[in-house]
């Protein structure tokens, strides 16, 4: 149960003394709702960095507001309605579970534009955007597979949604490629943000022999658990988590939303906004790979960077055949790469991963 939801009005740049005659023009108001606190050091932190970049870019012309720690579900609908009533022109809803609330509220406010992260439902005033995190997971899997000595890699999943399953598959495929003996142990935490639970999950995985911990949850608690355990490596998730470098954190996947947010806010200011679907990866700069620390051997680092460059240039797709599904049936033929439709709805493990996806 969380009562920490607060409505914080971000300070406008007026205090800088730059505002002189700009007040005559109506400000564009941009709202953000976050699933965790802005201080989570991961997912929400990066969305908030994007918001701050928007403020920096537009100065007085744009006002931003945000609400943090909004539970997914009916509460989100209430917060969104309030934001729209308060005159927001554009609202970014930054978690998968806000999908239906966003669609519902958008239907009631046709003049307000909505942008929903990582979802798949759109309408005339709802765009979706997401990042191809699985590209980063491929690089991560490569390093993890090369570095593990116990051949056991622990993975803390949040919810069994395509986004997370894609990450598990991508990491597994590339870990397996460099280390055929590798085994994944997966724990579903059923939360995006609960440091105590994430720490317990990491400890359970470490106790069962994992010496690499990958996480798809937002806090830095697994990093702290790995650090305490000693000989375990981790990767920053959503944010660089550099305070845990060079070990346990050996690299990271960094979300960079700022260019997209600035772009979309400009479209609203100019009146050219349209409902779109954006899914960018390493190439477009939406997904970044954090510095690979010196704990990683030089040749592994070089291979990882080469893999990153190949993905960025489009020369290599992380889901390239031959690949089979977990049940042994054929998925991709030699040289064939997965289409976006299959990836967006991914609900199966690839061959070699044990365990079932909770339904």
């Amino acid at each position: 149960m969380t009562f920490t939801r607060r409505f914080l009005m971000a300070a406008s740049a007026a205090a800088l003394g730059l505002a002189t005659g700009a007040a005559a023009q109506d400000k564009t108001k941009v709202g953000f709702i976050y699933v965790g606190p802005v201080g989570d050091g991961g997912w929400t932190y990066e969305h908030n960095q994007g918001r701050l970049a928007v403020e920096e870019e537009f100065g007085d012309a744009v006002e931003t507001v945000f609400v943090e720690s909004v539970p997914e579900g009916p509460d989100a609908e209430r917060v969104l309605t309030q934001m729209a009533l308060n005159g927001a022109d554009l609202i970014f809803t930054t978690s998968f579970g806000y999908m239906d609330p966003t669609i519902n509220v958008a239907a009631k406010f046709p003049n307000v534009k909505f942008e929903h992260a990582t979802g798949y439902k759109r309408s005339d005033n709802v765009s979706t955007y997401g990042a191809r995190f699985y590209e980063g997971r491929a690089v991560q899997g490569h390093i993890a597979g090369s570095m593990t000595e116990s051949n056991v890699i622990g993975y803390i999943g949040s919810y069994p949604i395509p986004e997370v399953i894609r990450g598990i598959n991508s990491a597994y495929i590339h870990a397996k490629k460099v280390n055929p003996d590798v085994e994944f142990k997966i724990i579903w935490a059923y939360t995006w943000f609960d440091p105590a639970k994430e720490a317990d999950a990491a400890k359970a995985l470490i106790e069962q022999g994992a010496d690499v911990i990958l996480q798809h949850t937002d806090s830095t608690a697994p990093q702290a658990a790995a650090q305490e355990a000693g000989n375990v490596i981790t990767f920053g998730q959503a944010s660089d988590m550099a305070e845990y470098a060079p070990k346990p954190r050996v690299s990271s996947i960094i979300d960079n939303w700022a260019p997209y947010y600035i772009d979309r806010v400009r479209a609203v200011v100019d009146g050219t906004w349209e409902s779109t679907d954006t899914w960018d990866g390493i190439g477009a700069g939406m997904v970044g790979i954090g510095e690979i620390s010196d704990v990683v051997p030089a040749e592994v680092k070089a291979e990882a960077l080469a893999l990153k460059d190949e993905i960025a240039s489009g020369a290599y797709h992380p889901f390239t055949g031959p690949l089979k599904k977990q049940d042994g049936s054929d998925w991709l033929a030699e040289g064939e790469s997965a289409d976006d439709g299959t990836l967006l709805g991914m609900n199966f493990y690839v061959e070699g991963i044990s365990g079932d996806i909770p339904q």
Binding site: R6, G41, I186, I187, Q208, A221
Partner: protein, 306 residues
């Protein structure tokens, strides 16, 4: 599925760690309720203790000083509840809920500059010889001092309620405050002291999470443990040793379900995730089938004139 991957030694060791915050908070609430006061603010006092302890130990570099101030922080917050319910006779349920809301907000405010900071770590107790024993050494003799304190506190609470005169007075106040008053006992004073003890225990439990179990600070990190502690007191029939059992059972099952998942047990995850709650309730309900009942004056407002 590979159940051999689960090491019983490590499992027991980590269940004791997972249970300790719950145990501390529940023991504090048990004393409060035995004195006839229902304080629903456990969650708020825990999270306040968590940030007070975290902040002080980061600033001073001493985790022990942090724990002391966590207890003080929790007790200070509970003092507010004591003033409201014992002196101005406010409703206990409403005041307790308000205390939780207030504690969550206050801790978020206090903790703003401590997000992402690493606290100084607390050394495990290392008893030469004993800690090296197989199985027993890891399970019993290589924990942090707070964990032992929790067990000692359980026994002390039990002995206090059962054998001491002060414990008898506390129970008398909780059972029938009018009679206790007529006998000349200071009902309000006893209750305020009990509330302060409850606050200190909850604060300590919170700090155990932020300093030892996780260890780091994030908003709302107690994530409902305070509510579970409240429920545990009721299901444990207001008996300290049953609180210990319930806390270990709950802690054990929450750790075990993660281990079973990692070992690939073919049971749907949702069942595993709800199992700690269900089994803890079941066991404690079965045990409370004897004639134990709530303190008779629980939640009732006392005024000497009535």
């Amino acid at each position: 599925m590979d159940l051999t991957a689960i090491s019983p030694t490590l499992l027991i060791a980590s269940l004791m760690v997972a249970a300790t915050p719950l145990l501390l908070a529940a023991l504090g609430e048990l004393i409060v309720e035995r004195a006839g006061v229902l304080n629903l603010g456990v969650e708020g006092m825990m999270i306040t203790g968590a940030i007070c302890g975290f902040a002080i130990s980061v600033e001073t570099g001493s985790p022990y000083l942090g724990l002391v101030f966590a207890a003080i922080g929790g007790a200070l917050l509970s003092l507010l509840f004591a003033l409201l319910t014992q002196l101005v006779l406010a409703n206990q349920v409403a005041s307790g809920l308000a205390l939780t809301l207030f504690g969550l907000g206050l801790s978020a405010l206090l903790g703003q500059s401590y997000v992402g900071v690493k606290p100084p770590s607390m050394a495990r107790l290392d008893l030469p010889g004993l800690s090296d024993l197989p199985f027993v050494g890891r399970v019993l003799f290589s924990h942090d001092p707070v964990l032992y304190f929790g067990i000692a506190l359980t026994i002390a609470t039990w002995a206090f309620l059962k054998f001491t005169r002060a414990g008898l007075i506390l129970r008398a106040v909780g059972e029938n405050h009018t009679a206790a008053h007529a006998l000349g006992y200071k009902v309000v004073r006893v209750r305020i002291l009990a509330i302060l003890f409850g606050g200190a225990c909850a604060g300590l439990g919170g700090a155990y999470i932020s300093l030892i179990r996780v260890p780091q600070w994030t908003e709302g990190m107690t994530a409902g443990i305070g509510w579970i502690a409240l429920a545990l007191v009721v299901f444990a029939s207001w008996k300290p040793l049953r609180v210990l059992l319930g806390a270990y059972l709950f802690g054990g099952l929450s750790v075990l379900q993660l281990n079973l998942q990692a070992a690939g047990l073919a049971v749907p995850v949702e069942y595993l995730a709800m199992s700690p709650y269900i089994i803890t309730i079941l066991v404690l309900v079965l045990m409370s089938a004897d004639k134990s009942r709530a303190p008779a004056s629980l939640g009732r407002i006392f005024h000497a004139s009535s």
